[in-house]
Protein backbone atom coordinates (compact mmCIF):
# COMPACT_ATOMS: atom_id res chain seq x y z
CA UNK A 1 0.00 0.00 0.00
CA UNK A 2 1.39 3.40 -0.94
CA UNK A 3 2.08 6.04 1.67
CA UNK A 4 -0.64 8.22 0.17
CA UNK A 5 -3.18 5.44 0.34
CA UNK A 6 -2.32 4.93 4.00
CA UNK A 7 -2.69 8.66 4.67
CA UNK A 8 -6.10 8.72 2.98
CA UNK A 9 -7.37 5.71 4.93
CA UNK A 10 -6.10 7.18 8.20
CA UNK A 11 -7.85 10.43 7.34
CA UNK A 12 -11.07 8.52 6.69
CA UNK A 13 -10.70 6.84 10.03
CA UNK A 14 -10.14 10.20 11.77
CA UNK A 15 -13.25 11.65 10.08
CA UNK A 16 -15.30 8.69 11.27
CA UNK A 17 -14.11 9.36 14.82
CA UNK A 18 -15.26 12.97 14.52
CA UNK A 19 -18.67 11.77 13.35
CA UNK A 20 -18.75 9.33 16.25
CA UNK A 21 -18.55 12.26 18.68
CA UNK A 22 -20.88 14.38 16.61
CA UNK A 23 -23.52 11.62 16.78
CA UNK A 24 -23.73 12.12 20.53
CA UNK A 25 -25.50 15.45 20.05
CA UNK A 26 -28.78 13.55 20.24
CA UNK A 27 -29.76 10.16 21.69
CA UNK A 28 -31.34 9.13 18.37
CA UNK A 29 -28.18 9.69 16.32
CA UNK A 30 -25.82 8.40 18.98
CA UNK A 31 -25.98 4.71 18.15
CA UNK A 32 -25.05 5.40 14.53
CA UNK A 33 -22.19 7.51 15.87
CA UNK A 34 -20.90 4.57 17.87
CA UNK A 35 -20.94 2.45 14.70
CA UNK A 36 -18.95 5.15 12.88
CA UNK A 37 -16.41 4.92 15.67
CA UNK A 38 -16.14 1.15 15.35
CA UNK A 39 -15.78 1.33 11.55
CA UNK A 40 -13.10 4.01 11.93
CA UNK A 41 -11.17 1.80 14.32
CA UNK A 42 -11.43 -1.24 12.04
CA UNK A 43 -10.13 0.81 9.10
CA UNK A 44 -7.23 2.11 11.19
CA UNK A 45 -6.25 -1.39 12.33
CA UNK A 46 -6.55 -3.06 8.92
CA UNK A 47 -4.62 -0.26 7.24
CA UNK A 48 -1.81 -0.69 9.74
CA UNK A 49 -1.78 -4.46 9.30
CA UNK A 50 -1.17 -3.91 5.55
CA UNK A 51 2.17 -2.22 6.22
CA UNK A 52 5.08 -4.08 4.62
CA UNK A 53 6.92 -4.21 7.92
CA UNK A 54 3.99 -5.85 9.69
CA UNK A 55 4.43 -9.61 9.30
CA UNK A 56 3.71 -11.36 12.55
CA UNK A 57 -0.01 -11.74 12.06
CA UNK A 58 -0.32 -14.70 14.40
CA UNK A 59 1.03 -12.87 17.42
CA UNK A 60 -0.89 -9.68 16.67
CA UNK A 61 -4.08 -11.62 15.97
CA UNK A 62 -3.70 -13.51 19.24
CA UNK A 63 -3.02 -10.28 21.12
CA UNK A 64 -6.15 -8.63 19.70
CA UNK A 65 -8.23 -11.73 20.50
CA UNK A 66 -6.99 -11.91 24.08
CA UNK A 67 -7.46 -8.19 24.69
CA UNK A 68 -10.78 -8.18 22.87
CA UNK A 69 -12.08 -11.13 24.89
CA UNK A 70 -11.11 -9.48 28.19
CA UNK A 71 -12.60 -6.14 27.14
CA UNK A 72 -15.82 -7.72 25.90
CA UNK A 73 -16.20 -9.81 29.04
CA UNK A 74 -15.73 -6.81 31.34
CA UNK A 75 -17.95 -4.49 29.32
CA UNK A 76 -20.82 -6.97 29.19
CA UNK A 77 -20.66 -7.85 32.87
CA UNK A 78 -20.23 -4.42 34.43
CA UNK A 79 -23.10 -2.96 36.45
CA UNK A 80 -24.14 0.50 35.27
CA UNK A 81 -23.65 1.84 38.79
CA UNK A 82 -19.97 0.83 38.50
CA UNK A 83 -19.41 2.81 35.29
CA UNK A 84 -17.20 5.52 36.81
CA UNK A 85 -14.62 3.04 38.06
CA UNK A 86 -14.75 1.10 34.80
CA UNK A 87 -14.01 4.26 32.84
CA UNK A 88 -11.16 5.09 35.22
CA UNK A 89 -9.73 1.58 34.73
CA UNK A 90 -9.95 1.95 30.95
CA UNK A 91 -8.14 5.28 31.11
CA UNK A 92 -5.30 3.64 32.97
CA UNK A 93 -4.97 1.10 30.15
CA UNK A 94 -4.68 3.84 27.53
CA UNK A 95 -1.99 5.45 29.64
CA UNK A 96 0.10 2.34 30.12
CA UNK A 97 -0.36 1.30 26.47
CA UNK A 98 1.04 4.71 25.47
CA UNK A 99 4.06 4.02 27.68
CA UNK A 100 4.62 0.63 26.01
CA UNK A 101 4.36 2.09 22.51
CA UNK A 102 6.84 4.83 23.44
CA UNK A 103 9.19 2.18 24.88
CA UNK A 104 8.88 0.13 21.71
CA UNK A 105 9.67 3.19 19.61
CA UNK A 106 12.66 3.91 21.81
CA UNK A 107 14.15 0.40 21.52
CA UNK A 108 13.36 -0.08 17.83
CA UNK A 109 13.07 3.35 16.22
CA UNK A 110 13.74 1.89 12.78
CA UNK A 111 10.33 0.19 12.74
CA UNK A 112 8.74 3.61 13.04
CA UNK A 113 11.14 5.39 10.68
CA UNK A 114 12.51 7.72 13.34
CA UNK A 115 16.20 6.70 13.17
CA UNK A 116 18.20 3.99 14.92
CA UNK A 117 18.74 3.02 18.53
CA UNK A 118 21.13 5.56 20.10
CA UNK A 119 20.65 8.01 17.26
CA UNK A 120 17.03 9.10 17.44
CA UNK A 121 16.31 12.66 16.36
CA UNK A 122 16.01 15.24 19.12
CA UNK A 123 12.40 16.21 18.39
CA UNK A 124 11.38 12.53 18.39
CA UNK A 125 13.03 12.08 21.76
CA UNK A 126 11.24 15.07 23.23
CA UNK A 127 7.87 13.94 21.88
CA UNK A 128 8.52 10.39 23.02
CA UNK A 129 9.36 11.43 26.56
CA UNK A 130 6.37 13.76 26.80
CA UNK A 131 4.08 10.97 25.56
CA UNK A 132 5.63 8.63 28.12
CA UNK A 133 5.30 11.18 30.90
CA UNK A 134 1.60 11.86 30.22
CA UNK A 135 0.89 8.17 29.66
CA UNK A 136 2.48 7.16 32.95
CA UNK A 137 0.64 9.89 34.90
CA UNK A 138 -2.65 8.84 33.31
CA UNK A 139 -1.90 5.25 34.26
CA UNK A 140 -1.22 5.72 37.96
CA UNK A 141 -3.70 8.58 38.42
CA UNK A 142 -6.46 6.45 36.91
CA UNK A 143 -5.54 3.43 39.03
CA UNK A 144 -5.87 5.51 42.18
CA UNK A 145 -9.11 7.07 40.90
CA UNK A 146 -10.37 3.56 40.24
CA UNK A 147 -9.45 2.52 43.78
CA UNK A 148 -11.22 5.53 45.27
CA UNK A 149 -14.36 4.98 43.20
CA UNK A 150 -14.41 1.25 43.85
CA UNK A 151 -13.91 1.85 47.55
CA UNK A 152 -10.66 -0.17 47.79
CA UNK A 153 -8.90 3.07 48.71
CA UNK A 154 -10.53 5.61 51.02
CA UNK A 155 -12.42 8.24 49.03
CA UNK A 156 -11.42 10.90 51.53
CA UNK A 157 -8.98 13.51 50.29
CA UNK A 158 -5.53 12.83 51.73
CA UNK A 159 -3.65 16.03 52.40
CA UNK A 160 -0.20 16.45 53.89
CA UNK A 161 2.27 19.23 54.38
CA UNK A 162 4.21 20.64 51.41
CA UNK A 163 2.10 18.49 49.07
CA UNK A 164 2.13 21.01 46.25
CA UNK A 165 5.78 21.88 46.75
CA UNK A 166 6.67 18.19 46.55
CA UNK A 167 4.62 17.75 43.37
CA UNK A 168 6.24 20.82 41.80
CA UNK A 169 9.72 19.54 42.67
CA UNK A 170 8.92 16.13 41.18
CA UNK A 171 7.68 17.84 38.03
CA UNK A 172 10.93 19.80 37.78
CA UNK A 173 12.84 16.58 38.32
CA UNK A 174 10.95 14.97 35.42
CA UNK A 175 11.80 17.93 33.18
CA UNK A 176 15.45 17.46 34.12
CA UNK A 177 15.21 13.75 33.36
CA UNK A 178 13.70 14.51 29.95
CA UNK A 179 16.56 16.88 29.15
CA UNK A 180 19.07 14.21 30.17
CA UNK A 181 17.23 11.61 28.14
CA UNK A 182 17.34 13.79 25.04
CA UNK A 183 21.09 14.26 25.50
CA UNK A 184 22.24 10.72 26.20
CA UNK A 185 19.30 8.49 25.13
CA UNK A 186 19.90 6.17 28.04
CA UNK A 187 17.38 3.39 28.74
CA UNK A 188 17.92 3.90 32.48
CA UNK A 189 16.75 7.47 32.18
CA UNK A 190 13.81 6.47 30.01
CA UNK A 191 12.55 4.10 32.70
CA UNK A 192 13.30 6.68 35.40
CA UNK A 193 10.91 9.03 33.61
CA UNK A 194 8.30 6.28 33.62
CA UNK A 195 8.68 5.51 37.33
CA UNK A 196 8.83 9.10 38.55
CA UNK A 197 5.81 10.02 36.40
CA UNK A 198 3.89 7.09 37.89
CA UNK A 199 4.67 8.38 41.38
CA UNK A 200 3.55 11.88 40.38
CA UNK A 201 0.28 10.47 39.00
CA UNK A 202 -0.53 8.95 42.39
CA UNK A 203 0.38 12.12 44.25
CA UNK A 204 -1.78 14.27 41.97
CA UNK A 205 -4.96 12.26 42.61
CA UNK A 206 -4.39 11.53 46.35
CA UNK A 207 -5.72 14.88 47.65
CA UNK A 208 -8.88 14.79 45.56
CA UNK A 209 -11.95 13.40 47.27
CA UNK A 210 -15.24 11.67 46.47
CA UNK A 211 -17.55 14.22 44.91
CA UNK A 212 -14.73 15.90 43.00
CA UNK A 213 -14.35 12.62 41.13
CA UNK A 214 -16.33 13.77 38.07
CA UNK A 215 -13.63 16.35 37.49
CA UNK A 216 -10.81 13.86 38.05
CA UNK A 217 -12.33 11.26 35.75
CA UNK A 218 -12.80 13.89 33.04
CA UNK A 219 -9.28 15.15 33.51
CA UNK A 220 -7.80 11.68 33.20
CA UNK A 221 -9.94 11.26 30.09
CA UNK A 222 -8.28 14.37 28.76
CA UNK A 223 -4.78 13.17 29.71
CA UNK A 224 -5.31 9.86 27.93
CA UNK A 225 -6.00 11.90 24.78
CA UNK A 226 -2.90 14.05 25.18
CA UNK A 227 -0.85 10.87 25.73
CA UNK A 228 -2.11 9.51 22.40
CA UNK A 229 -1.22 12.87 20.86
CA UNK A 230 2.32 12.66 22.20
CA UNK A 231 2.71 9.22 20.65
CA UNK A 232 1.22 10.59 17.42
CA UNK A 233 3.88 13.28 17.28
CA UNK A 234 6.59 10.72 18.00
CA UNK A 235 5.46 8.52 15.13
CA UNK A 236 4.48 11.48 12.91
CA UNK A 237 1.06 9.87 12.65
CA UNK A 238 -1.77 12.32 11.94
CA UNK A 239 -4.48 9.84 12.89
CA UNK A 240 -3.08 9.58 16.41
CA UNK A 241 -2.63 13.34 16.64
CA UNK A 242 -6.21 14.07 15.53
CA UNK A 243 -7.79 11.42 17.72
CA UNK A 244 -5.67 12.38 20.70
CA UNK A 245 -6.63 16.03 20.27
CA UNK A 246 -10.34 15.14 20.04
CA UNK A 247 -10.19 13.08 23.21
CA UNK A 248 -8.03 15.65 24.96
CA UNK A 249 -10.43 18.45 24.08
CA UNK A 250 -13.41 16.36 25.13
CA UNK A 251 -11.96 15.58 28.56
CA UNK A 252 -10.91 19.19 29.05
CA UNK A 253 -14.40 20.49 28.25
CA UNK A 254 -16.02 17.95 30.57
CA UNK A 255 -13.63 18.98 33.36
CA UNK A 256 -14.58 22.60 32.75
CA UNK A 257 -18.32 21.86 32.83
CA UNK A 258 -17.94 19.83 36.02
CA UNK A 259 -15.92 22.42 37.89
CA UNK A 260 -18.35 25.10 36.78
CA UNK A 261 -21.14 22.94 38.21
CA UNK A 262 -19.40 23.29 41.56
CA UNK A 263 -18.45 26.95 41.06
CA UNK A 264 -14.80 26.09 41.55
CA UNK A 265 -11.82 26.57 39.33
CA UNK A 266 -10.23 23.49 37.82
CA UNK A 267 -7.05 24.55 39.63
CA UNK A 268 -8.71 24.38 43.06
CA UNK A 269 -10.11 20.95 42.30
CA UNK A 270 -6.69 19.74 41.18
CA UNK A 271 -5.07 21.14 44.29
CA UNK A 272 -7.63 19.11 46.19
CA UNK A 273 -8.36 18.68 49.87
CA UNK A 274 -11.94 19.97 49.55
CA UNK A 275 -14.43 18.97 52.23
CA UNK A 276 -11.94 17.26 54.50
CA UNK A 277 -11.58 19.69 57.36
CA UNK A 278 -14.73 21.83 57.40
CA UNK A 279 -16.86 18.82 58.31
CA UNK A 280 -16.72 19.39 62.07
CA UNK A 281 -17.34 23.13 62.25
CA UNK A 282 -20.47 23.60 60.17
CA UNK A 283 -23.03 21.47 62.01
CA UNK A 284 -23.02 23.00 65.50
CA UNK A 285 -25.51 25.85 65.26
CA UNK A 286 -28.29 23.72 63.83
CA UNK A 287 -28.41 21.15 66.59
CA UNK A 288 -31.47 22.67 68.28
CA UNK A 289 -33.52 23.18 65.13
CA UNK A 290 -36.52 21.03 64.49
CA UNK A 291 -36.62 18.52 61.70
CA UNK A 292 -39.95 17.30 60.39
CA UNK A 293 -39.90 13.57 59.89
CA UNK A 294 -42.18 11.50 57.75
CA UNK A 295 -42.57 7.94 56.53
CA UNK A 296 -43.37 6.23 53.24
CA UNK A 297 -47.15 6.54 53.69
CA UNK A 298 -46.90 10.29 54.27
CA UNK A 299 -44.75 10.66 51.18
CA UNK A 300 -47.12 8.57 49.09
CA UNK A 301 -50.10 10.63 50.31
CA UNK A 302 -48.40 13.96 49.59
CA UNK A 303 -47.32 12.98 46.10
CA UNK A 304 -50.61 11.34 45.19
CA UNK A 305 -52.38 14.63 45.84
CA UNK A 306 -49.93 16.75 43.87
CA UNK A 307 -50.15 17.88 40.25
CA UNK A 308 -46.45 17.91 39.61
CA UNK A 309 -43.44 16.17 41.12
CA UNK A 310 -39.79 16.80 40.34
CA UNK A 311 -37.38 14.05 41.32
CA UNK A 312 -33.80 15.09 42.14
CA UNK A 313 -31.45 12.10 42.15
CA UNK A 314 -27.85 12.10 43.39
CA UNK A 315 -24.99 9.75 44.07
CA UNK A 316 -26.93 8.18 46.96
CA UNK A 317 -29.40 6.79 44.44
CA UNK A 318 -26.55 5.02 42.66
CA UNK A 319 -25.14 3.64 45.91
CA UNK A 320 -28.54 2.29 46.96
CA UNK A 321 -29.26 1.03 43.40
CA UNK A 322 -32.61 2.75 43.81
CA UNK A 323 -33.15 3.74 40.16
CA UNK A 324 -35.54 0.89 39.30
CA UNK A 325 -37.70 1.32 42.38
CA UNK A 326 -37.69 5.06 41.72
CA UNK A 327 -38.82 4.59 38.15
CA UNK A 328 -41.64 2.33 39.34
CA UNK A 329 -42.75 5.03 41.74
CA UNK A 330 -42.63 7.60 38.93
CA UNK A 331 -44.70 5.34 36.66
CA UNK A 332 -47.46 4.96 39.25
CA UNK A 333 -47.57 8.71 39.84
CA UNK A 334 -47.75 9.36 36.11
CA UNK A 335 -50.67 6.97 35.84
CA UNK A 336 -52.42 9.08 38.46
CA UNK A 337 -52.07 11.95 36.02
CA UNK A 338 -49.24 13.65 37.87
CA UNK A 339 -46.56 15.46 35.90
CA UNK A 340 -43.35 13.63 36.90
CA UNK A 341 -39.96 14.91 35.82
CA UNK A 342 -36.35 14.37 36.82
CA UNK A 343 -33.85 17.17 37.47
CA UNK A 344 -30.14 16.43 37.01
CA UNK A 345 -27.43 18.62 38.46
CA UNK A 346 -24.24 18.68 36.34
CA UNK A 347 -22.14 17.17 39.14
CA UNK A 348 -24.66 14.65 40.45
CA UNK A 349 -22.98 11.27 40.66
CA UNK A 350 -19.37 10.34 40.17
CA UNK A 351 -18.90 10.96 36.47
CA UNK A 352 -20.41 13.32 33.89
CA UNK A 353 -23.84 12.06 32.85
CA UNK A 354 -23.85 9.33 35.52
CA UNK A 355 -27.45 9.93 36.64
CA UNK A 356 -28.73 10.07 33.06
CA UNK A 357 -27.33 6.62 32.35
CA UNK A 358 -28.78 5.11 35.52
CA UNK A 359 -32.23 6.57 34.83
CA UNK A 360 -32.02 5.38 31.23
CA UNK A 361 -31.10 1.95 32.54
CA UNK A 362 -34.25 1.97 34.64
CA UNK A 363 -36.23 2.81 31.47
CA UNK A 364 -37.03 6.40 32.36
CA UNK A 365 -37.74 8.12 29.01
CA UNK A 366 -35.00 10.69 28.36
CA UNK A 367 -37.59 13.39 27.60
CA UNK A 368 -38.53 13.39 31.28
CA UNK A 369 -34.93 13.90 32.40
CA UNK A 370 -33.96 17.57 32.39
CA UNK A 371 -30.78 19.53 33.04
CA UNK A 372 -30.42 22.23 35.67
CA UNK A 373 -31.04 25.23 33.37
CA UNK A 374 -34.00 23.55 31.71
CA UNK A 375 -35.95 22.84 34.86
CA UNK A 376 -34.75 25.20 37.58
CA UNK A 377 -37.35 27.90 36.87
CA UNK A 378 -40.13 25.30 37.26
CA UNK A 379 -39.58 24.62 40.96
CA UNK A 380 -41.78 27.52 42.17
CA UNK A 381 -44.69 26.04 40.21
CA UNK A 382 -44.03 22.54 41.49
CA UNK A 383 -45.84 20.97 44.38
CA UNK A 384 -43.39 18.28 45.42
CA UNK A 385 -39.64 17.97 45.04
CA UNK A 386 -38.44 14.48 45.78
CA UNK A 387 -34.73 14.51 46.65
CA UNK A 388 -33.15 11.09 46.58
CA UNK A 389 -29.46 10.68 47.36
CA UNK A 390 -28.56 14.29 46.58
CA UNK A 391 -27.59 16.85 49.20
CA UNK A 392 -25.12 19.64 48.48
CA UNK A 393 -26.63 20.36 45.06
CA UNK A 394 -29.90 21.38 46.77
CA UNK A 395 -28.42 23.44 49.61
CA UNK A 396 -29.81 27.00 49.59
CA UNK A 397 -26.70 28.11 51.50
CA UNK A 398 -24.93 28.11 48.15
CA UNK A 399 -26.99 31.20 47.30
CA UNK A 400 -27.21 32.97 50.63
CA UNK A 401 -24.27 32.11 52.88
CA UNK A 402 -21.09 33.72 51.63
CA UNK A 403 -19.07 31.92 54.25
CA UNK A 404 -20.16 28.51 53.04
CA UNK A 405 -17.58 26.46 51.14
CA UNK A 406 -20.19 25.77 48.49
CA UNK A 407 -21.18 29.45 48.13
CA UNK A 408 -21.80 30.34 44.49
CA UNK A 409 -22.38 26.78 43.34
CA UNK A 410 -25.42 26.59 41.06
CA UNK A 411 -28.09 24.58 42.87
CA UNK A 412 -31.45 23.08 42.08
CA UNK A 413 -34.01 25.39 43.72
CA UNK A 414 -35.99 22.61 45.39
CA UNK A 415 -36.76 24.85 48.38
CA UNK A 416 -39.03 26.94 46.14
CA UNK A 417 -41.46 24.08 45.63
CA UNK A 418 -44.40 23.72 48.00
CA UNK A 419 -43.13 20.57 49.67
CA UNK A 420 -39.70 18.97 49.72
CA UNK A 421 -39.42 15.26 50.44
CA UNK A 422 -35.83 14.46 51.29
CA UNK A 423 -34.66 10.84 51.50
CA UNK A 424 -31.59 10.44 53.64
CA UNK A 425 -30.00 7.70 55.66
CA UNK A 426 -29.17 10.00 58.59
CA UNK A 427 -28.66 13.64 59.43
CA UNK A 428 -25.01 13.47 58.35
CA UNK A 429 -23.67 16.26 56.18
CA UNK A 430 -23.04 15.94 52.46
CA UNK A 431 -19.69 15.58 50.83
CA UNK A 432 -18.76 19.21 51.32
CA UNK A 433 -19.21 18.80 55.07
CA UNK A 434 -21.78 21.59 55.06
CA UNK A 435 -25.06 21.23 56.91
CA UNK A 436 -28.09 21.65 54.67
CA UNK A 437 -30.50 24.25 56.06
CA UNK A 438 -33.13 22.79 53.77
CA UNK A 439 -33.64 20.01 56.35
CA UNK A 440 -35.02 22.51 58.86
CA UNK A 441 -37.38 24.36 56.58
CA UNK A 442 -41.12 24.20 57.27
CA UNK A 443 -41.88 22.81 53.86
CA UNK A 444 -39.34 19.97 54.14
CA UNK A 445 -40.21 16.48 55.30
CA UNK A 446 -37.29 14.16 55.94
CA UNK A 447 -37.67 10.51 55.02
CA UNK A 448 -35.00 8.61 56.89
CA UNK A 449 -33.94 5.27 55.48
CA UNK A 450 -32.32 3.47 52.58
CA UNK A 451 -33.25 5.12 49.27
CA UNK A 452 -34.25 1.90 47.55
CA UNK A 453 -36.26 0.57 50.49
CA UNK A 454 -38.02 3.93 50.84
CA UNK A 455 -39.02 3.97 47.15
CA UNK A 456 -40.31 0.42 47.41
CA UNK A 457 -42.35 1.31 50.50
CA UNK A 458 -43.78 4.36 48.76
CA UNK A 459 -44.73 2.19 45.79
CA UNK A 460 -46.54 -0.18 48.18
CA UNK A 461 -48.38 2.70 49.83
CA UNK A 462 -49.37 4.15 46.48
CA UNK A 463 -50.83 0.88 45.27
Amino acid sequence: MSANMVAVLYLLSALLFIFALRGLSHPESSRLGNIFGIVGMVIAIITTLMFKSVLSYTEIGAAILIGGAIGTFIALRIEMTALPQLVAAFHSLVGIAAVFVAAAAFYDPASFGIGNFDSIGTSSLVEMSIGTFIGAITFSGSILAFGKLQGTVSGKPIVFKFQHTINALILLFIVALIVMFVINQSPTIFWSIVIVSIILGFLVVIPIGGADMPVVVSMLNSYSGWAACGIGFTLSNNLLIITGALVGASGAILSYIMSKGMNRSIISVVLGGFGGEQAASATSDNSDKIVKQGNAEDAAYIMKNADSVIIVPGYGMAVAQAQHALREMGEILKKEGINVRYAIHPVAGRMPGHMNVLLAEANVPYEEVLELDEINHDFPMTEVSFVIGANDVTNPAAKTDEASPIYGMPILDVEKSQTVLFIKRSMATGYSGVDNELFYRDNTTMLFGDAKKMCEDIVKSLA
Binding site: E28, E59, G67, V94, A97, Y107, S236
Partner: protein, 104 residues
Protein backbone atom coordinates in the same frame (compact mmCIF):
# COMPACT_ATOMS: atom_id res chain seq x y z
CA UNK B 1 16.87 10.36 5.53
CA UNK B 2 15.79 12.77 8.25
CA UNK B 3 12.26 11.49 8.54
CA UNK B 4 11.55 13.71 11.50
CA UNK B 5 12.54 17.06 10.12
CA UNK B 6 11.05 20.24 11.52
CA UNK B 7 8.73 20.32 8.52
CA UNK B 8 7.07 17.09 9.64
CA UNK B 9 6.72 18.52 13.11
CA UNK B 10 5.07 21.69 11.86
CA UNK B 11 2.60 19.68 9.81
CA UNK B 12 1.83 17.64 12.91
CA UNK B 13 1.35 20.83 14.90
CA UNK B 14 -1.03 22.23 12.26
CA UNK B 15 -3.08 19.06 12.34
CA UNK B 16 -3.03 19.11 16.12
CA UNK B 17 -4.43 22.63 16.50
CA UNK B 18 -7.07 22.17 13.82
CA UNK B 19 -8.15 18.92 15.49
CA UNK B 20 -8.37 20.66 18.86
CA UNK B 21 -10.69 23.26 17.36
CA UNK B 22 -12.87 20.59 15.75
CA UNK B 23 -12.90 18.73 19.05
CA UNK B 24 -13.93 21.88 20.89
CA UNK B 25 -16.99 22.50 18.72
CA UNK B 26 -18.01 18.88 18.37
CA UNK B 27 -17.82 18.20 22.10
CA UNK B 28 -19.83 21.30 23.04
CA UNK B 29 -22.56 20.01 20.75
CA UNK B 30 -22.84 16.80 22.78
CA UNK B 31 -25.99 16.79 24.89
CA UNK B 32 -25.19 16.68 28.65
CA UNK B 33 -27.37 13.58 29.04
CA UNK B 34 -24.83 11.68 26.92
CA UNK B 35 -21.68 12.75 28.72
CA UNK B 36 -21.10 9.25 30.08
CA UNK B 37 -21.29 7.61 26.63
CA UNK B 38 -18.99 10.42 25.42
CA UNK B 39 -16.39 9.23 27.90
CA UNK B 40 -16.91 5.66 26.74
CA UNK B 41 -16.43 6.53 23.10
CA UNK B 42 -13.44 8.82 23.63
CA UNK B 43 -11.90 6.08 25.72
CA UNK B 44 -12.36 3.60 22.90
CA UNK B 45 -11.02 5.86 20.16
CA UNK B 46 -8.02 7.04 22.17
CA UNK B 47 -6.92 3.41 21.99
CA UNK B 48 -6.12 4.10 18.35
CA UNK B 49 -2.55 4.05 19.68
CA UNK B 50 -2.95 0.36 18.87
CA UNK B 51 -1.66 1.52 15.48
CA UNK B 52 1.73 2.25 17.07
CA UNK B 53 1.64 -1.00 19.00
CA UNK B 54 0.96 -3.00 15.83
CA UNK B 55 3.91 -1.37 14.07
CA UNK B 56 6.13 -2.32 17.01
CA UNK B 57 4.79 -5.87 17.10
CA UNK B 58 5.00 -6.25 13.32
CA UNK B 59 8.53 -7.44 12.52
CA UNK B 60 9.42 -11.14 12.74
CA UNK B 61 11.76 -11.83 15.64
CA UNK B 62 11.89 -11.71 19.38
CA UNK B 63 13.35 -8.41 20.47
CA UNK B 64 12.18 -6.35 23.40
CA UNK B 65 10.43 -3.77 21.25
CA UNK B 66 8.24 -6.44 19.71
CA UNK B 67 7.35 -7.67 23.19
CA UNK B 68 6.29 -4.14 24.19
CA UNK B 69 4.29 -3.89 20.99
CA UNK B 70 2.37 -7.09 21.70
CA UNK B 71 1.56 -5.95 25.24
CA UNK B 72 0.44 -2.63 23.80
CA UNK B 73 -1.85 -4.42 21.35
CA UNK B 74 -3.44 -6.48 24.16
CA UNK B 75 -4.01 -3.44 26.39
CA UNK B 76 -5.37 -1.27 23.60
CA UNK B 77 -7.67 -4.09 22.44
CA UNK B 78 -9.17 -4.40 25.92
CA UNK B 79 -10.02 -0.73 25.67
CA UNK B 80 -11.29 -0.78 22.12
CA UNK B 81 -13.67 -3.69 22.66
CA UNK B 82 -14.54 -2.67 26.20
CA UNK B 83 -15.04 0.99 25.31
CA UNK B 84 -17.24 0.46 22.28
CA UNK B 85 -19.31 -2.28 23.92
CA UNK B 86 -19.95 -0.39 27.12
CA UNK B 87 -20.89 2.68 25.06
CA UNK B 88 -23.23 0.53 23.01
CA UNK B 89 -24.84 -0.74 26.20
CA UNK B 90 -25.30 2.78 27.51
CA UNK B 91 -26.70 4.12 24.26
CA UNK B 92 -29.18 1.29 23.81
CA UNK B 93 -30.74 2.37 27.12
CA UNK B 94 -31.39 5.80 25.62
CA UNK B 95 -33.63 4.32 22.92
CA UNK B 96 -36.97 6.03 22.61
CA UNK B 97 -39.42 4.10 24.73
CA UNK B 98 -42.67 3.27 22.99
CA UNK B 99 -45.49 5.13 24.77
CA UNK B 100 -47.30 2.08 26.05
CA UNK B 101 -49.05 1.34 29.30
CA UNK B 102 -46.80 -0.51 31.70
CA UNK B 103 -48.36 -3.64 33.09
CA UNK B 104 -47.68 -3.86 36.78
Amino acid sequence: MEAHSSEVFVIGLTVFFLACIIGYYVVWSVTPALHSPLMGVTNAISSVIIVGAILAAGPIGHDISKFFGIIGVVLASINIFGGFIVTYRMLSMFKKKPKKEKKD
